[in-house]
């Protein structure tokens, strides 16, 4: 009798534990749930469709002023290079310099300026400043006009010169399969 009741109890405990696990879906119950504000503050990555872009706007004209204040110290007064290279060629250089210029989306430029510039204080630019800096870099690359306004809607629509100049390296390839460019004599 004692045996069967403890067996019954065990079954109940195991079952309820399972139910809890199913409801929660967590095996280890470690870590904590971040607040929405916490996630929002850290969620800075911008996808090619630009759906994460924040409100704000900027033009190349505004960007030129910003460049003189916060970028010229490293990139040179005219963006020709100083402590580091100048304004990165983004595909309109002739002859085409493919290395570093294969940036496919304007969102890539926005994202990198936002997270990594200026090097003395990365992440310190306001959204308006990042739009302006991006506009200035794209204007200097002859991709947009000096007066074009970049914002969350217009930026993802900017067509980068090398947008179609890449080959999806391994179409259909899945991890674990033979590499398509491999040598199989």
């Amino acid at each position: 009798m004692r045996c069967s009741s403890s067996l019954f109890l065990t079954v109940v405990i195991v079952l309820s534990a399972c139910a809890a696990a199913l409801a929660q879906g967590r095996t280890y119950q470690l870590g904590s749930t971040p607040s929405e504000e916490e996630i929002k503050a850290r969620d800075i990555a911008i996808s090619p469709d630009g759906k994460e872009l924040p409100p704000g706007s900027g033009t190349a004209k505004e960007g030129a002023t910003l460049f003189a204040q916060k970028c010229a110290a490293c990139h040179g007064p005219n963006g020709d290079g100083g402590l580091t290279r100048g304004i990165v060629p983004l595909g309109n250089a002739k002859p085409v310099k493919i290395a570093f210029s294969l940036v496919p989306y304007a969102t890539t430029v926005w994202d990198f300026i936002n997270r990594a510039m200026p090097q003395s204080k990365p992440g310190s630019l306001s959204a308006n400043e990042v739009y302006a800096a991006t506009a200035y870099v794209l204007y200097r690359n002859e991709i947009i006009k000096e007066t074009d306004v970049l914002d969350a809607k217009s930026l993802p629509k900017v067509r980068m010169p090398n947008r179609d100049n890449f080959i999806p390296a391994q179409p259909g390839w899945k991890p674990g399969e033979k590499r398509p460019f491999g040598y199989y004599p």
Partner: protein, 411 residues
């Protein structure tokens, strides 16, 4: 586990009890309690190599536009398959190595998941851990060089290292959050100043990627991502994000700066290849190798390393006549998947000119090509590889009559 104000090494010393007390001559305090053992002075706290040894990382001395640091592993001076942590290669796209207090560090997992979760380092270490021996290799490793830098296996091929990594499988952490339908990629982010970012297919993330907090038995070194990093086995090391602080589960690659422009493979036709991911089979003879000098004819052991992003090295063949004939080398056992594999080959040098080279075949039957075979395979001229990434060609070393060894790739 409770305190990370001291390194694991110090914790070991503290917890070493009788042995530590004996070694350090600790005395009991007046109250009769054993005081914390003192850290011994100088090299006794953490052992250092002999003053006669000069096994160090080296650099070409040539800065690149996208890399602030480029330090290569001294493959010619190492034995076995493990790279000492302090000699691990270093190719960074960040300005400075961040100093991260593990007590303050958090890993956030969010995006297309049922439950976003945030972990402290202590919590991460409470998950089931695994230890695995994996190599890491920069996609720019082994670019055919000319000039003085070409004569050193360290400078040409030293952007690869191999460690025992300990950590939690990323799949465990992702399952804990509940990955939603439609998710297909993750975006991993570091907590360096630039918040270095990479996109990785979800399939790989759910397979064998490690969230590693230890390297060769001790905490991952700051230059290698302290307190925690990704280790993506078999794939170009740019994916193995250091100082990992955030993983977002998403439905597309985000084309971050360092994966879209800087690390595209460029082709002669001006097009770029993205997402090469997996590294091909490769091997290189580390002794004798370029810049070394054989003291005289007689017995030598040819030795080197082989590895492949395809899993395990199946065989390594060595040629002493520039590739006309090959003989199978002995592989150090056990052979680990996605790890450096040591090969050895006995050789008697007659004193005549010889060209030594090795060729790796991996478990999927992919073979390491010569530069001519690689060029033919891709439909390019051999010059193409001078600036190409992911080059895995055969490396010939020529032994001259005076015993000097030189790079024979372009001879």
């Amino acid at each position: 586990m409770s305190s990370h104000s001291h390194s694991n090494r110090r914790r070991f010393l503290k917890g070493g009890g009788a042995l530590a007390s004996f070694l350090m001559g600790a005395v009991r305090s007046v109250r009769g309690q054993a005081p914390a053992p003192e850290a011994p002075k100088d090299n006794l706290a953490y052992g250092q190599p002999s003053q006669f040894d000069n096994t160090i990382r080296r650099t070409t001395g040539r800065a690149t536009a996208i890399t602030d640091t480029a330090l290569m592993t001294p493959l010619q001076d190492l034995d076995g398959i493990i790279t000492p942590s302090g000699l691990h290669f270093l190719m960074d796209h960040v300005k400075d190595v961040p100093e991260i207090d593990p007590q303050q560090h958090r890993l956030l997992i969010h995006g297309m998941v049922d439950r976003p979760l945030i972990y402290t380092m202590d919590e991460l270490k409470r998950f089931p851990s695994v230890s695995r021996i994996y190599f890491l290799e920069c996609n720019a490793n082994s670019r055919p060089l000319r000039g003085p830098n070409a004569d050193s296996v360290q400078l040409v091929h030293g952007r690869t290292s191999c460690s025992e990594w300990t950590g939690v499988l990323l799949s465990v952490l992702l399952k804990e959050c509940g990955v939603q339908k439609g998710a297909s990629w993750i975006v991993a982010e570091g907590s360096d100043a630039n918040k270095y970012t990479m996109s990785i297919p979800l399939g790989k993330a759910m397979d064998d990627i490690l969230v590693a907090y230890a390297q060769n038995g001790e905490p991952v070194r700051p230059q290698q991502g302290y307190p925690v990093r990704l280790v993506v086995p078999g794939w170009e090391a740019i994916r193995s994000v250091k100082w990992l602080s955030r993983i977002k589960v998403v439905d597309q690659p985000y084309m971050a700066w360092h994966e879209s422009g800087n690390n595209a493979d460029t082709r002669p036709d001006g097009k770029g290849l993205w997402f090469r991911f997996e590294l091909g089979p490769k091997s290189v003879i580390t002794r004798p190798s370029g810049g070394q000098k054989l003291p005289g004819h007689g017995s030598y052991e040819i030795t080197g390393l082989a590895w492949t992003g395809g899993g395990a090295v199946r065989k390594v063949e060595v040629s002493i006549d520039g590739g006309r004939t090959y003989k199978e080398a002995q592989l150090q056992q056990p052979v680990h998947r996605y790890a450096h594999t040591r090969f050895r080959f006995p050789w008697k040098w007659s004193g005549e000119e010889a060209v030594l080279q090795s060729r790796c075949t991996d478990e999927r039957g992919e073979v390491q090509p010569t530069i001519a075979e690689a060029a033919k395979n891709l439909g390019v001229s051999p010059d193409y590889f001078y600036q190409a990434d992911h080059f895995n060609g055969v490396q010939p070393w020529k032994v001259n009559r005076d015993g000097s060894v030189q790079n024979a790739l372009f001879l």
